[in-house]
Structure formats: C-alpha cells, structure tokens
C-alpha cells in the first residue's frame, strides 16, 4: 500500500499528518508495518517480514493487514487519497 510520503512517525508510535494536522498513535506492529509501507514494500513483503520477525502465522497477519489497511485509508493516510 502506498503511504503519503510526508507523514512523520516517531519511535514511540506517534504519527502526524502535516497536511491535515491529524495525529495518531500506533502500536509497535502498526508502526513497523507503516514504516515498511513507507519504504515501498508490498503487502506480500510485509506479510513475509512479519512472519519472520514475530511468533505469528501467515493467515493471521494477512487478516490483520487487510483490516489495518482499511483503517489507514479511513484516516486518509494512503497516497491515492488527499
């Protein structure tokens, strides 16, 4: 998923969207996934990365990623939205 390039995320999971002034908090996995997306990683690469790093199966990550992406779009953090 393509993420707006100007979003700022810090190490504590605080995310700021300078174009709207909205701020968000992410948990560590959310933060990690967002960072991977910002690096241009695909869904498959993200899933691969998460299952490598965490004690979790592929299906669960896939389900959770699906939901997480809906939320990112909902909060207008995707590239295609403005």
């Amino acid at each position: 998923m393509k993420i707006k390039p100007n979003l700022a995320v810090n190490e504590t999971g605080f995310l700021f969207n300078p174009s709207t002034g909205d701020s968000f908090s992410l948990n560590p996995t959310g933060q990690e996934i967002l960072t991977l997306f910002k690096q241009g990683k695909s869904d498959e690469e993200v899933i691969e990365h998460m299952t490598q790093e965490y004690m979790i199966d592929k299906n669960t990550v896939e389900k959770d990623l699906y939901d997480f992406k809906i939320m990112l779009s909902n909060y207008k953090l995707g590239e295609e939205q403005n």
Binding site: G13, F14, L15, D22, S23, F24, S25, L26, N27, P28, T29, G30, E32, I33, L34, M50, Q52, E53, Y54, M55, I56, T60, V61, D64, L65, D67, F68, I70, M71, L72, N74, Y75
Partner: protein, 453 residues
C-alpha cells in the same frame, strides 16, 4: 536464529485532543489473569468457555462487611438472602452459613430454601403472586408472609380461619422517599393511608399476627438518604401500631436495593467510584431507627434483604474472542462467545471487561457483540480494550447478581458455573447444560415421531 517477537494485532488510533473518552482517563484494560489464585486460562481449559466463576472469599467478605457495618450501628440486625439474586444452592448455602435467613418471592424459591434446610420460620415470603396452595404451605409452616395487596390480605384472613392458624404477617409498604420513579406497584401506599388501612384490617380481623413491616423502595439505589426516609416512615407506622393497639412489632424490613459496583448504562461515572458504601446505607438506616422514638428495650429488629450488593462483585464471566470485524462506519467490532442471553445485566450495565492476557498499552475502541444471531446481542456498545485477537480471553466483572437466575437458554446450552473456594480450589457448582437437560420436559406426540425427507 534469533527469538521471534511477541505479536500484537497492528492498530492505529486517532488522537483526538480535547475529546475525552466517556470514562476520562480510566483504563479498563489491565489484564486479569487470575481469580482468587485460579488461573483464567486453566479454568477455561478445564471447564470450557464461556464460564461463570464465583469467588467464595468475596461473597463471605461482602456479607461479613455488611453485617459489621450494620451491627456496629444498630443492635438487632438480621440479613435474609434474596434468592432471586442468585439461587444456586452453593451460593445460598454460603449466605446461610454466614447466618442469613431466606427471602423468597415465589413458591419455587420457597421450596428451594426449604430444600436447602432453611427453617421455615426463617423464610420471608414476599411477592404479589402467592396462590392459596402457596399460602397454605407458608401458614402451616409458620413462615413470615409479606402481604402485597388487598386481595392477598383477604385470602390470608380467610385461610387463617379455614386452617385454624394465626399466620405471622407483615405488609409491604411503598412510599415516597424522594426517589424517582417511585416503586408504587408493590404493597400498600404510606402517604395515602392505604398502609394504615391494611394494618387496621389485619388487627380488626383478629386472625393474623402482625409481626413486621416491609419495604423495598427500589433497586440500585444510589441515594443512601432514601433509606433513612423509608426507615423513618416504617418506624412511624410501627410506633402508631404500638400507640393505637398496644402491639409491638418484631421487625422492620427494609428490603434490598443497595447498589453494586456496576456502572449503570448512560452514567458518566464509573459505578465503583460513585455507589455508596454499605456503611453509608447503614448509617442512614440506623440513625433513623435509633431516633424514631422507640424505647431502647423495644427497638424492632432490622431485617435486610440485600441482594446484588453482596454478590455482584463476586461473580465473573470468562469468555473468548471469536472474531474481529470492521463495521461499515469504520468502527471495530469484536465478537465474543457469550451473549446477552447469559449476560442479561448487559441491558442495564456497562460491564467492566478486562483482557486475560498481557498487551502493550495500546488500545482501541470497539463494540462487543455476542454470538447470538440477533441485533440486540450487544454486550458493550463502546469499550476500550487492547487489540484482542480470535482466541484471546476476557473477564467480565460484577456479574454475580441476576445473570444466572435470569439467563435464557437460546441456540446453545448454558455454561458451567464454578466456585473458587477460600483456598483457591475450583468446584463445579453447576455443570454445563446438556441437550438432554434442555429436552427433559419435551414430549413428541406419536403422530409426529416419524418423517421422511
């Protein structure tokens, strides 16, 4: 290879400055992994999910506290366990072991109390629906009959004549205690003179032994003061009976209704922070009775039928997440394996819910649904919890009152109930319902036995 990290479902949550959530900064999500030394995970593994768990330690602590609160303020106090609040026999017997009598509102409950071994003269028989057969049993047993309405009053007088017995009776009185709504559908009204008329009728009949006065002014009463008013009004009636007829009443019964720690729906404050302590109620009631004008040697007994305040916080419902969903409006929905059919009080309360395992401090708001295929099956309309995943376990708090007695069997069988004893050992006090239990009373007419498809 390096150790893999603990996974948590990814979440993102808007930080809306200025907009506090409904409960301010209170957190509901500190994990609860144990109940009185028994692990939630082990309990579910052993007895299944969902599962009701009751803490014996908490029940005993509650009744002892309540007794202490009243007995240190008033010399003659007697608790009677309100059966309808939770009539699992093991629970009733804990209260009876602690010295509580039985308070029942139907012949079904009356029989349960008798079966449990409560001496019949220590059963207070309330309720508007007592048949002639029920009354006959109670009269023959010398139980205290709390008369609810005029029809019942006449029936008891007639039955007393037929049975050649002098039944021990009290009347239920309703009154204005400054609380809205006023519970005036039960008993005889104080302000308009009905209660006094009923007393006159009882005494004029010469057939009944008027031993007490009863009131139950409402339930989940957040005002302790209302009990002071009720105690004064009943004391006033008792003193008038003494003055006019020379009869000393044995007791004044103030019923139940003390609030538990639950949070009423629509309330903006957490229940545990705003409900009066038992000692607040005790103070109001004792002060009113001690100042009413009884000579010290004639102080009536104070009977109390406290229900939910003694058992609600001793009950827990353990459950498991079935699935997570995203609703069309973006809200998160979590589907639990328990619904409103076994958690009836979710219609009244915003039950406190804790996860049963560790999470990071990140949380999200969610609607909690039960598994019933019905729209009304909402356990919490809005709850802040960590990112629960399918299979995660939760603990619902303050469910000891009215859930087991009011539960409905619907589309599946009802869960087991486990009592954790004073040493932390679990005992099944009601096994999980079976299909045979549910079909026990069913009969199929011969012509419906067979079919072909």
């Amino acid at each position: 290879m390096a150790q893999k990290k603990q996974y948590e479902r990814p979440i993102i949550k808007p930080l809306n400055t200025g907009l506090m959530n409904k409960f301010g900064t209170k957190t509901e999500y500190a994990p609860v992994k144990m109940i009185d030394g028994a692990y939630v995970k082990d309990l579910i593994k052993e007895y299944g999910s969902p599962l009701f768990v009751l803490s014996e330690r908490k029940i005993r602590e509650n009744i002892r506290n309540a007794k202490r609160a009243f007995e240190t303020r008033y010399p003659k106090v007697q608790f009677a366990w309100s059966y309808k609040t939770n009539y699992l026999n093991a629970v009733c017997n804990i209260f009876h072991q602690e010295g509580s009598w039985g308070e029942v509102v139907s012949i079904f409950e009356y029989k349960k109390a008798i079966k449990n071994g409560v001496p019949p003269e220590k059963i207070l028989f309330n309720g508007p629906d007592k048949t002639d057969d029920d009354l006959t049993i109670a009269i023959n047993n010398n139980s205290c009959i709390h008369i609810d309405h005029l029809d019942e009053l006449y029936r008891v007088i007639e039955l007393a004549g037929e049975l050649h017995k002098k039944p021990r009776v009290a009347i239920r009185v309703n009154m204005d205690t400054g609380i809205y709504p006023m519970w005036d559908r039960f008993g005889f009204n104080y302000e308009n003179g009905q209660a006094w008329d009923a007393i006159n009728k009882i005494i004029a009949s010469g057939k009944l032994d008027l031993v007490g006065l009863h009131a139950h002014i409402g339930t989940f009463m957040l005002s302790a003061k209302a009990y002071g008013v009720a105690a004064s009004k009943l004391a006033d009636l008792a003193l008038s009976v003494k003055r006019m007829f020379g009869i000393k009443l044995t007791y004044i019964d103030l019923g139940g209704g003390f609030a538990s720690k639950n949070t009423l729906k629509g309330s903006f404050q957490i229940g545990a922070d705003v409900t009066p302590e038992i000692s607040d109620y005790a103070e109001e009631i004792s002060t009113a009775l001690l100042n009413a004008g009884f000579p010290t040697e004639d102080l009536p007994y104070l009977y109390l039928e406290t229900g939910r305040a003694l058992v609600d916080d001793a009950g827990f419902l353990l459950g498991t997440v079935i699935s997570n969903k995203r609703l069309s409006d973006g809200r998160r929905a979590t589907i639990m394996d328990f619904g409103v059919n076994i958690l009836f009080t979710s219609f009244w309360y915003d039950h406190k819910i804790s996860p049963a395992q560790d999470f990071s401090h990140h949380t999200e708001e969610s609607v909690l649904y039960g598994p019933l295929c019905m729209n009304i099956d909402v356990v919490r309309e809005n709850v802040t919890l960590p990112p629960l995943m399918a299979g995660d376990q939760v603990v619902v708090h303050y469910v000891g009152a009215y859930n087991i007695t009011q539960s409905m069997q619907f589309i599946s069988t009802r869960p087991a109930v486990v009592l954790v004893d004073m040493k932390g050992t679990p005992h099944v006090i009601k096994r999980k319902e079976t299909i045979e239990d549910v079909e026990l009373g069913e009969k199929i007419p011969d012509y419906l036995e067979k079919f072909e498809l």
